[in-house]
């Protein structure tokens, strides 16, 4: 949680300064008055006011709001449904024009997911992972990747050489690793640096 403690002439001024520092509006913060100001007499005994202001940003709320706004500016009105999963929070989008938001091989969906994660976690200390999904795209993609993994593993064994896959985001690479984990004839590893990191399938006895 972001938090500031400000001392100023009056409570109002201190709160204003705190809001400016946090770049937040009054409805998104909690204000605790630590010390009220005292006027004093002829400049004697005057005391400044101290307030503690805490930002109440909810990553999930920020994420949903950001997503809806961006989609609408792209000309797509979306409904967002939130589901909790062991891998994180899933934001499921539904719309008539969903294809625009998914893009070729999910590249738009992945870009939106990356940006949503950045925006959602900007003002909070703990990192909350958000997964974007649309029309079950992630599940369908997972099936495609599993098939690809099996196919390339047998290719690697057939030519007895390592086979490298196209660059993929970490979430998709994980699917390949997990799929071939139980296959003792091949080993998988990743190579290169993001965003060009790719999976390599190597025959164990190469």
């Amino acid at each position: 949680m972001k938090q500031v403690t400000i001392t100023s002439k009056s409570v109002e001024e201190a709160v204003e300064e705190a809001l400016a520092q946090l770049r937040a509006s009054k409805d998104k913060v909690e204000i605790e008055i630590i010390e009220e100001s005292k006027k004093g007499f002829l400049g004697l005994g005057a005391k400044p006011a101290t307030v503690k202001v805490t930002l109440n940003a909810d990553p999930l709320e920020e994420a949903v709001q950001f997503l809806k706004e961006v989609a609408s500016k792209m000309g797509v009105e979306v409904d967002v449904t939130v589901k909790e999963d062991e891998e994180g929070t899933i934001l499921e989008m539904a719309s008539e024009k969903i294809a625009i938001l998914i893009g070729k091989r999910g590249q738009t969906l992945n870009a939106l997911q990356y940006l949503t994660n950045l925006v959602a976690n900007k003002s909070s200390d703990e990192f909350k992972r958000m997964i974007l999904d649309a029309e079950n795209y992630r599940e369908r993609r997972k099936e495609t990747l599993e098939k690809l993994a099996y196919r390339l593993a047998s290719k690697a064994l057939k030519i007895n050489k390592k086979v490298s896959l196209e660059p993929m985001p970490s979430m998709e690479r994980k699917v390949i690793h997990m799929t071939l984990k139980s296959n003792s004839k091949v080993q998988t590893s990743s190579e290169g640096s993001e965003p060009h990191r790719r999976v390599i399938i190597t025959p164990t006895n190469e």
């Binding site: 950001f66 500016k73 738009t108 992945n110 940006l115």
Partner: protein, 75 residues
């Protein structure tokens, strides 16, 4: 399009009031010149340009119906 870039960028930076976007149009291409507070440069570019790339992917997806190529420059 300008609104879309503005929505994304303002949500990412610490100084949303300093976000400026200028549109430069030629016969085949529209270029958006984005400038942000110097403290926020990293927040729109990202490690190895990852954030900039994600922004470009999103605006290109939004611009598929337009005939001109869309370009985003960070200045």
């Amino acid at each position: 399009m300008e609104e879309l870039i503005e929505t994304i960028v303002k949500a990412l930076v610490d100084h949303p009031d300093d976000v400026r976007i200028e549109e430069v149009e030629t016969s085949s291409m529209v270029t958006y010149q984005l400038s942000v507070n110097s403290e926020d440069m990293g927040k729109v570019i990202g490690k190895q340009g990852r954030i900039a790339k994600a922004i470009r992917t999103v605006i290109n997806a939004a611009g598929t119906n337009e005939s001109k190529k869309i370009n985003l420059e960070i200045v």
